[in-house]
């Protein structure tokens, strides 16, 4: 071979090797690899169903139980000729899968977090499961629930999940779990440190100045004994009225002024009010969204999800976006305003948002209010410190009263408990703090919670024919009240559907799970979804990204807590920050 041939051969080999290597790389990504699949032997006497499950904070204990039960319930069913029963092959890890990888992925049923429904559905990788949704959930091979799964969906969910891909409206996925962001409070700390407002102290702080609220005067507001009668809390009622229990929030801060007094009292009593994490700062944005939603109420807030309707809670602004005030110093409100896509930026003048900023500013009011490492820690460390910080000597002898976390935290943090018994112990008392109202006139209004993250269950549209009936049966099975109870009992969480928990489930949950369930399903709480409901908002989905929609400024910041973390902004009034957000949207409004 001469020199030129050698060169040619070398070039050819190099190119071929490079191609092969990249092809191998593509292949591994393309198939998704089923990398997390449990290493099990295939039982050739049974039909196999391949399941991909996002094994994050929710944990896998419940789904392992459900799979075992499903395999037992369907042990005698022939889905394929010559085979009896089902073997579910588990691919459980903390990862998602790209749309392009689904076709070649061996998994047939997917249970994922942070999935863009429209992207997956429009690419045809999700199977039409309308027949599953519009029938009762499977209880066993021959038994279904009477009510259809569709009746368990909220109206906003029906609007979001039904798509018309040219052959009528169809469902291609179902929502998985509820994902609120919360202030989780340590009930034991509240009891031990007597941090409950005493009976008769309702509304007492309304006339107090800021100096009063940060002085020793606050000590008089709180109970002297842990068991002493407490104030009415943000719902303004106590006891059972018309079948609704209003006692759960007794003694908790009803208004922002109460909340400020509570923070002062906590610091005085050597308690750290808050802890949060720095690796997922969007948890903080989520909490600000919750404050906005809670002050705005479900109906008015949902205008943001449609850009259509009448807004009757908008702050009056001058032409520069400055907040206008009445003579008595209260914020001036506008007359009812018709909202259309062209002027929907006006929704950024909702009073609830101004109130939310005030709440954020209060929480950020002093570095004493947060655990010193909060802006350095990851979410698992945060959970550990909140649960065991004082006992383990991590917090200099101080208890931490509240943590910013999602509904999944107690399931995610299970390894931080000594045991499952410890997690379920009555000594481990945690609950969702109902966010206080902006002022006393709002006390008694309902709590509103918003579920932000898209978590989906769907079937691979490229699922082998033999597996389609098994996959549909399994998805149906997952949506029976019984199985959803299994989910709630183990995880302390709720599926994002309407269903009742049985007494057995409630008793089997931890204190946190029970209180979260009572809170979320109370007649005094509205639960909404952060999902676009009109064609315009669906088309402009990126604008509605929950992590940026609420608090984006002209400079580009979108997290109100990080905004007030900056020393240069510490003195910026909520009204000024509010004006910046409003002007940002007004000046850049562009709807396609």
């Amino acid at each position: 071979m001469n020199k030129t041939n050698w060169k040619k051969a070398l070039l050819a080999f190099t190119m071929a090797a490079t191609t092969m290597l990249s092809a191998v790389g593509c292949g591994a990504r393309g198939t998704g690899g089923a990398g997390g699949a449990d290493n099990v032997d295939i039982d050739t006497t049974k039909s196999q169903l391949y399941l991909k499950y996002y094994n994050g904070g929710v944990n896998r204990v419940w789904i392992d139980d459900v799979i075992s039960q499903f395999e037992r319930d369907y042990a005698d069913v022939e889905f394929e000729t010559g085979k009896k029963g089902v073997q579910i092959i588990k691919d459980f890890d903390k990862s998602g899968i790209s749309v392009s990888a689904i076709e070649k992925n061996p998994n047939q049923v997917f249970m994922l977090v942070g999935v863009e429904y429209y992207d997956y559905a429009s690419n045809g990788v999700m199977m039409d499961i309308s027949d599953v949704v519009q029938k009762g959930a499977a209880l066993s091979p021959n038994q279904k629930e009477e009510a259809t799964i569709e009746t368990k969906l909220r109206e906003s969910q029906k609007s979001f999940y039904q798509l018309d891909r040219g052959d009528g409206k169809k469902y291609y996925a179902l929502p998985f779990f509820e994902s609120f962001m919360n202030l989780i409070y340590n009930v034991s700390v509240f009891e031990d440190k007597k941090l409950y407002f005493a009976q008769g102290k309702d509304g007492e702080t309304e006339t107090w100045s800021d100096e009063d609220l940060k002085s020793s005067k606050v000590e008089d507001l709180f109970v002297k004994r842990a068991t002493a009668p407490r104030s009415l809390g943000p719902d303004g009622k106590t006891g059972e009225i018309d079948g609704v229990n209003y006692s759960a929030d007794d003694g908790l801060p009803a208004t922002y002024k109460d909340f400020q007094a509570l923070l002062t009292c906590m610091v005085r009593r050597n308690v750290i009010p808050f802890i949060w994490n720095a690796t997922s700062t969007d948890y903080l944005t989520g909490l600000a969204n919750e404050a906005w939603v809670n002050n705005e109420g479900a109906e008015q807030f949902m205008l943001n999800m449609s850009f259509e309707g009448t807004a009757d809670n908008l702050v009056a602004l001058d032409d520069k976006g400055n907040v206008q005030y009445n003579e008595d110093g209260s914020v001036k409100m506008r007359d009812a305003t018709e909202i259309t896509p062209s002027n929907a930026y006006e929704l950024h003048a909702q009073k609830g948002k101004l109130d939310a900023i005030e709440f954020v500013k209060m929480m950020m009011g002093s570095s004493d209010y947060r655990y010193g490492e909060s802006f350095k820690m990851d979410f698992r460390a945060t959970q550990r410190y909140f649960l065991n910080g004082n006992v383990d000597g991590l917090t200099d002898g101080k208890d931490i009263a509240m943590m910013v976390e999602g509904t999944w935290w107690n399931s995610e943090a299970r390894s931080d408990y000594a045991s499952e018994e410890d997690r379920h112990s009555e000594d481990r008392k945690f609950a969702i703090l109902p966010l206080p109202k902006s002022d006393i006139s709002k006390v008694g209004e309902k709590n509103t919670k918003v579920s932000e993250r898209q978590t989906l269950i769907f079937i691979n549209n490229f699922c082998a024919d033999y597996a389609v009936p098994i996959a549909k049966e399994f998805v149906s099975y997952l949506h029976s009240d019984r199985v959803m109870n299994v989910f709630s009992k183990d995880t302390d969480m709720l599926r994002a559907l309407n269903y009742e928990l049985t007494e057995d489930t409630i008793q089997g949950m931890s204190y946190f799970g029970r209180s979260a369930y009572e809170f979320a399903t109370s007649a005094n709480t509205d639960v909404i979804e952060w999902l676009p409901t009109s064609n315009t908002t669906k088309k402009n989905g990126t604008l509605l990204d929950w992590a940026s929609y609420g608090f984006s400024t002209t400079a580009g910041g979108k997290n109100p807590y990080l905004y007030y973390f900056e020393e240069s902004n510490a003195k910026v009034s909520p009204a000024t920050y509010f004006k910046d957000i409003y002007n940002n949207y007004k000046n850049s409004w562009k709807i396609s």
Partner: protein, 312 residues
């Protein structure tokens, strides 16, 4: 005759072998380079919608470019990103490049601890970046914070989430990593300089500094130009490791670069992120950046080659 036949046979089988091996890479090049880039360019003039469950792509002319102009006029984010991008470019050119050259020369000359330096400086290139980022974050947030607290009494709650401090650790990390990436290239370039020339200069009594400036630098000038050209041409995609430090879309706006901004645009597309509805805008951004950067890069290369020092 027989020999001629045999040669022709050999040539034919050589051709078959060559094309068999080359066809696949060529097809791959056509699809994954030409096709992808062509599609990217086309996408900049299209819209992409899927909210009905069906993908709809329409020609929208220059609408995506108008959106970029609109963003530029109405938000500071883009301007901040451009400013930061140039800040990192300046760091590349004014700090990383000269320092790397000096270290490469130091190692080449086998001065004290040069082998240790070689390992230490090159280590970041072979260790997973996430490991380094976690290590570095811990070092800054714990150790450095503690030192500052003990010496000045100032407690820094976060090195990475406060505007006042964030630039420093990010820049230190950027320099550390920039160092390691290029040092082997410079070392290799310096190794190709004739040793006799260097020895002659030493015998003539030239100082190390003089040798570096008058012999080494002109000799490796082509390498410098190449690396400079690469730095400038990559400004649109330089994320400055922000994704490794902050993850998707969590980097504070004051720290963002154009590369991270583009990444964020794609990563946060849709209600919950990762929906291609924003890809056309991202493609348009790519074209705009190319239109600005390409002529600058080519002109710069031409100027540097024309007016730079000569080995002669």
């Amino acid at each position: 005759m027989a020999s001629g036949k045999s040669m022709s046979k050999n040539k034919r089988s050589g051709q078959i072998f060559f094309w068999t091996m080359v066809i696949l890479p060529l097809v791959q090049f056509c699809i994954f380079y030409v096709g992808v880039n062509f599609n990217s360019i086309i996408l900049a003039f299209k819209s992409y919608e899927n909210h009905t469950g069906v993908i709809v792509q329409d020609w929208v002319g220059f609408e995506n470019f108008q959106t970029i102009l609109h963003d530029w006029n109405t938000s500071l984010l883009l301007k901040t990103a451009v400013k930061n991008t140039f800040k990192y470019l300046a760091i590349d050119i004014l700090i990383i490049m000269p320092a790397t050259m000096l270290f490469a020369y130091y190692i080449y000359k086998n001065f004290a601890l040069s082998n240790l330096f070689k390992v230490l400086i090159f280590a970041p290139s072979i260790i997973c970046i996430m490991v380094l980022v976690i290590f570095f974050k811990g070092f800054m947030e714990d150790a450095v914070s503690q030192v500052i607290y003990k010496t000045t009494g100032t407690y820094i709650e976060s090195m990475f989430l406060k505007r006042k401090y964030a630039f420093y650790p990010l820049t230190i990390f950027y320099i550390m990593f920039g160092f390691s990436g290029n040092i082997l290239i410079y070392l290799n370039a310096i190794s190709n300089i004739s040793t006799s020339m260097l020895e002659a200069a030493t015998i003539d009594g030239a100082s190390e500094f003089k040798i570096f400036i008058q012999i080494v630098l002109p000799s490796i000038y082509k390498t410098c130009v190449s690396l400079l050209v690469i730095s400038v041409s990559a400004i649109g995609s330089n994320q400055a490791y922000l994704h490794s430090f902050y993850g998707s879309s969590n980097a504070p706006e004051y720290a963002r670069t154009l590369g991270y901004h583009l990444f964020d645009l794609v990563a946060t597309s849709g209600v919950d992120g990762d929906n291609p509805t924003q890809y056309p805008i991202a493609s348009a951004y790519g074209l705009v950046i190319t239109f600005i950067v390409a002529p600058v890069t080519l002109t710069m290369r031409w100027l540097l080659n024309k007016y730079g020092p000569s080995e002669d």
